[in-house]
Each structure stands twice: as structure tokens, then as C-alpha cells.
């Protein structure tokens, strides 16, 4: 419970700072939030007891703590990266207290969600991750797109949570319990339970943006402020995947043959559709949105078959994905804040003016594309291995083909930055220390996770708990 308590304390402190400082004296907000959250992240790594609380509504295990720590690191990066955007305009800056509060409370929701032991906690955690973020997506009052993103996010999230709730209510009807542990001992074999599973799956798949529940993703990411998009695409998605794994392996473990089939098909179409759309995007945020959809399509490869190795592979992949995706979004955010440019052809010749930014971008994209020896390659490789060991050769083949296609569009960006020439490239951007630090953490993450084999072994030992 320490993670959540620390986060709540941090959120309250931020509120106090927000209330106690005057309008013209807000400059301490950003450093305060960064220091506070670094502290929270650090404390999260201290050893902690695991077990059940609140009569089983709240669980922790080594793996859940690992997940929470990964989310903490990701949010830390997001908070650091947000500094540039918050300083960008007075209005944003004025909102910074509320911004940090909402980000942290959303993280509290995620922590409770992945720790939840019953559906009520799960549902409330899920809503806590989404509803405040929808407000953040719409925060840029001057931009129409921001409001559009907010309204699309909140309405489609409302629909999906309605569907999810309907599924939960049917589960309750058939099993009489809302606790994961007592549901998992039930042998689900009626078609009504199948229906409930599909409804619940839809609700969670919406958050992960698996096709065909993905359509909100691109519009919301494009319209929302970059940092909110990066939060949604990395942290929010990762937490939804964690809870999906937990649900599939506890509540629905008797339906394993069903969810294997469902995951099989969604994986195939998600990868393909994500790739086909990503190929033709010009706006970088939209491009990264579709790339994140395609990335999500690889995750079922680890879950399918339900092995422990697969779970470790998924967590490993997600950890790398968080760093790589935040790295890419960080560069997009730095450029967007400095020049307002978000289109791919405006990135032409970036290497000449901003070699460091372009190298970070290249590294992140290579990691997303899965080019060895960057970390992303191992993430994908372990996923492929996990599915191949289970005998899903055709799925692995499709996935490998899709990974290859994805390379094409990641390279389009690399080409724009390194090879294409431009008459008026983006001018040299002098980044502040926050941006630099945020990108540095991402780069270190990508490199260290890829080259330190011990991390995977650690994940593997932690994932026995599920």
C-alpha cells in the first residue's frame, strides 16, 4: 500500500503548494513536483511486504510492485518532460498545480487498479485513470483540437466503461462474487459467462487500444497536449495491459481457450491495421499513436498460451516500450514546444541543426522498430519466442512480417531527420535541463535494459507470483 499512500501524500502536498502560493509565484511548482515525485519513485523501490489487505480487495505481489515501479518511472519521465510544455505558455503554467495533481491521481487510480482484488476496486481504479486525463486532454482552451480530443476521449471511455460494467454485472449474476479469487475458482462454461468475458475484454481492450476498439486513439493523441498523449500511450496503456494480464490469469483462467482465440485475432488485426495507418501519417503525434496501436498488437503474443515466460516477456517489452515511446514523444514535445512544428516533413534536416535530438529520436524509433541491438529488439524477440514455444508459428510469422513493415515507417522519420534536406530546417533548439534530463533517462533506459541481461532474469523471477 506504500505506493498509493506516497502518491496520495505527494498529490496533497502539490495541492497545498498550489493553494499557498500566489499567482505570480508559481515558479517553484515544477521543481517541487519533480523532486517530490523522484522521492516517491525512489521510495517505491525500497523493499516492501506483499500480501492482501481490506479483505482481499487489495493485493500486492512482487510482480505488482514491479509493475508499479515501472509506472512510477514512466510518470516521473512524463512529469519531467512536461516542464517544457508548462513553461511554454502562461496559461499552461497557471494550471501546473492542477496538471500535476491530475497526473498523480491518475497514477493512483492505476496503482489501485492493478492491485485490485475485486471488480469494484478495478472499476473505480479504471475510471480514476481515465476521467481526470480526459480533462487534461482538453486543457488547452485556445485550441479546438484539444477540446475535441477531450470530448472524444471521455465519451468513448464512458461507452466502453458502460460495456465493461455490463460485463461485470453479468459475471456477478453468474458467479455471485466480485472477488477475483472466488471467480477464478469457478469453471466458466456457459455462453452467458462468455458474453460477460467479451464485454469485460472490450472495456479493457479499449484502454489498450486493440483493434477494433482503437479508433479514439489517434484523434485523442493528436489533439491532446503532447505530454498527455505520451502519458496515455505509455503509462495508461501499460497499466491496462497489466490489469488485462491479471484478469485473464485469475478471473478468466478457465476460459483460456477462448481468450487465446480472441487474442490471436485481435493481435493479427491490431498489428496490421496499426501498421497500415501508421504508414500514411504526416503528423508526428498521430504517427506515434498508430505506432503505439501496432505495438500493442505484439503484446498478445506473450499473453497467449498463458506461460510464465510469456508474462515476463510482456512486462519486459512494456518496460522497454515505456522508455522508447516516452523518448520519441519527448523529442516531439521538445520540438513542438520550441517551434510548434509537428509534421514529419518539417523534421527534414533536423540532424543538421539538432543532432542530439535526432539521435535520441533515432534511438527511440529503432527501439520501437525492434532493430538489434537496441533494447526494443529483445522485447519483441522474447515475445516472439514466447509465442513460438507455444506453437503459434503462423502468428509469429505474421508478427515478424508486421515488425518488418513497421520498420518502413519508422525509417521514414529517420530518413526525414538524417537524409532529407530542407531549406528551412527547424532551428537549433536550446533545451532546458528538464527536457535534457527526461530524454537522458529514456536513452539510458533503452540502452541499459537492452544490455543488462540481469533485468530480464529479475522480471522472470518476479513474475512467478501471478
Amino acid at each position: 500500500m506504500r505506493h498509493e499512500i506516497m502518491l496520495i501524500i505527494a498529490a496533497v502536498i502539490i495541492l497545498i503548494i498550489e493553494l499557498s502560493t500566489g499567482k505570480d509565484n508559481k515558479s517553484m511548482m515544477i521543481p517541487a513536483a519533480v523532486i517530490l515525485f523522484s522521492l516517491v519513485t525512489f521510495i517505491g523501490f525500497l523493499p516492501i511486504e506483499t500480501g492482501k489487505l481490506f479483505g482481499g480487495s487489495y493485493n500486492t505481489s512482487d510482480m505488482i510492485i514491479l509493475m508499479k515501479n515501472s509506472l512510477n518511472i514512466g510518470v516521473l519521465i512524463v512529469i519531467i518532460q512536461s516542464a517544457g510544455w508548462l513553461k511554454h505558455s502562461f496559461e499552461n503554467f497557471d494550471n501546473s498545480g492542477g496538471y500535476f495533481f491530475i497526473i498523480i491521481s491518475s497514477l493512483i487510480g492505476m496503482d489501485f487498479m492493478i492491485s485490485s482484488g475485486d471488480f469494484l476496486m478495478f472499476y473505480i481504479g479504471l475510471e480514476l485513470t481515465t476521467i481526470p486525463i480526459a480533462a487534461l486532454a482538453a486543457i488547452e482552451k485556445m485550441k479546438r483540437r484539444s477540446s475535441e480530443a477531450g470530448i472524444k476521449l471521455i465519451l468513448s471511455a464512458a461507452l466502453s466503461s458502460g460495456i465493461l460494467l455490463f460485463g461485470i454485472s453479468i459475471l456477478y449474476a453468474t458467479n455471485g462474487s466480485l472477488f477475483f479469487s472466488s471467480l477464478s475458482s469457478d469453471n466458466m462454461n456457459s455462453s452467458l459467462q462468455l458474453l460477460a468475458f467479451i464485454f469485460v475484454f472490450t472495456g479493457v481492450a479499449f484502454k489498450i487500444s486493440l483493434v477494433p476498439f482503437h479508433l479514439w486513439t489517434a484523434d485523442v493523441y493528436e489533439g491532446a497536449p503532447v505530454n498527455v498523449s505520451s502519458f496515455l500511450s505509455s503509462i495508461s496503456k501499460a497499466s491496462a495491459i497489466f490489469i488485462l494480464i491479471i484478469l485473464l490469469f485469475t478471473v478468466f483462467n478457465s476460459l483460456i481457450s477462448v481468450w487465446n482465440t480472441v487474442l490471436y485475432f485481435t493481435a493479427v488485426i491490431t498489428m496490421t491495421i496499426g501498421n497500415l495507418f501508421a504508414m500514411r501519417q504526416q503528423n508526428m503525434k498521430r504517427f506515434l499513436a498508430f505506432s503505439s496501436i501496432a505495438q500493442a498488437g505484439f503484446i498478445p503474443l506473450g499473453i497467449i498460451g498463458g506461460t510464465q515466460f510469456g508474462i515476463s516477456a510482456v512486462i519486459y517489452f512494456l518496460l522497454i516500450y515505456i522508455f522508447s515511446n516516452l523518448g520519441a514523444f519527448g523529442v516531439v514535445s521538445a520540438i513542438s514546444n520550441a517551434s510548434g512544428k509537428e509534421n514529419m516533413d518539417e523534421y527534414n534536416g533536423l540532424y543538421k541543426t539538432n543532432p542530439k535530438l535526432s539521435l535520441v529520436m533515432m534511438l527511440s524509433l529503432f527501439s520501437l522498430a525492434g532493430i538489434p541491438p537496441v533494447a526494443g529488439f529483445f522485447g519483441k524477440f522474447f515475445l516472439f519466442t514466447a509465442a513460438a514455444v507455444q506453437g503459434y508459428y503462423i502468428l509469429v510469422f505474421i508478427a515478424v512480417v508486421n515488425a518488418t513493415i513497421s520498420l518502413y515507417y519508422y525509417l521514414l522519420v529517420v530518413k526525414a531527420m538524417f537524409i532529407n534536406n530542407s531549406d528551412s530546417p527547424i532551428e537549433y533548439i536550446k533545451n532546458d535541463n528538464y527536457t535534457k534530463a527526461g530524454l537522458l533517462i529514456c536513452v539510458l533506459g533503452i540502452i541499459i535494459i537492452g544490455f543488462a541481461g540481469i533485468i530480464f532474469e529479475f522480471i522472470e523471477s518476479a513474475s512467478t507470483g501471478i
Binding site: 471488480f119 469494484l120 472499476y123 473505480i124 475510471e127 476521467i131 481526470p132 480526459a134 480533462a135 482538453a138 482552451k141 479546438r144 483540437r145 477540446s147 475535441e148 480530443a149 477531450g150 470530448i151 472524444k152 471521455i154 465519451l155 464512458a158 461507452l159 466503461s161 458502460g162 460495456i163 460494467l165 455490463f166 461485470i168 454485472s169 453479468i170 456477478y172 449474476a173 455471485g176 462474487s177 466480485l178 489517434a218 484523434d219 493528436e222 489533439g223 500514411r280 498521430r286
Partner: protein
């Protein structure tokens, strides 16, 4: 149970209401009316929870509390959605869902 009302009755009622809500979500033009459809969906779920609690599992109050929390969450959802709709209205002077399509393809 006092009479012939079975749990299936309630489920049919709530399912119909759920899909009426979905229909509204898919067809209404005004963003606020879409929000109303969402409320219908949530309400149908509440009926489910309460009825199951009453007729199938009266030994605990799980369904009852779930319904309560759903009401509370619905309230937050509405407040945020209304805030966004109003901010959109300030910019566009209309809240027609079909015009909320600046980003596409």
C-alpha cells in the same frame, strides 16, 4: 421472491435499456444527448446489480454498493464531460458531434 418476476425479467429489461442507450450513443447528434444515452447505459447496469443482489445473492451487499459507486462515478463523468462540452461550445458555438471531426484519417 413474492411472485413470478424472475431474474430473467430484470435482465431483459436492463439489456433492452442498455441497447437503447447504445442506440442513442450511435445516433444522437447533440453531444449532451449522447451524454444522456451514456446515463441510460449506466442506469441499466445499476438495475442489473441491484436485482442480482436482491434475488440471487442476498447474503452480501456487493451489488448494492457497486450500484452506488457507479452512480458516484457517473456524476464525475458527467461533470468532466459537461466541462469539456462547454469549453468546446465557447470555441465552436455549437455542440454537434458531427462537427467534432477536425482530426481524421
Amino acid at each position: 421472491m413474492e411472485s413470478g418476476v424472475s431474474i430473467q425479467h430484470f435482465m431483459v429489461l436492463s439489456t433492452l435499456m442498455f441497447f437503447i442507450g447504445v442506440y442513442g450513443f450511435l445516433t444522437r447528434k447533440n453531444l449532451i444527448t449522447i451524454l444522456l444515452s451514456v446515463e441510460l447505459i449506466l442506469n441499466s447496469v445499476n438495475i442489473n446489480f441491484v436485482a442480482f443482489n436482491k434475488f440471487l445473492y442476498p447474503e452480501n451487499l456487493g451489488g448494492h454498493f457497486f450500484a452506488m459507486f457507479v452512480i458516484a462515478v457517473a456524476a464525475t463523468e458527467v461533470s468532466v464531460a459537461i466541462a469539456i462540452i462547454i469549453s468546446l461550445y465557447r470555441k465552436l458555438k455549437m455542440i454537434d458531434v458531427e462537427n467534432v471531426n477536425e482530426m481524421k484519417y
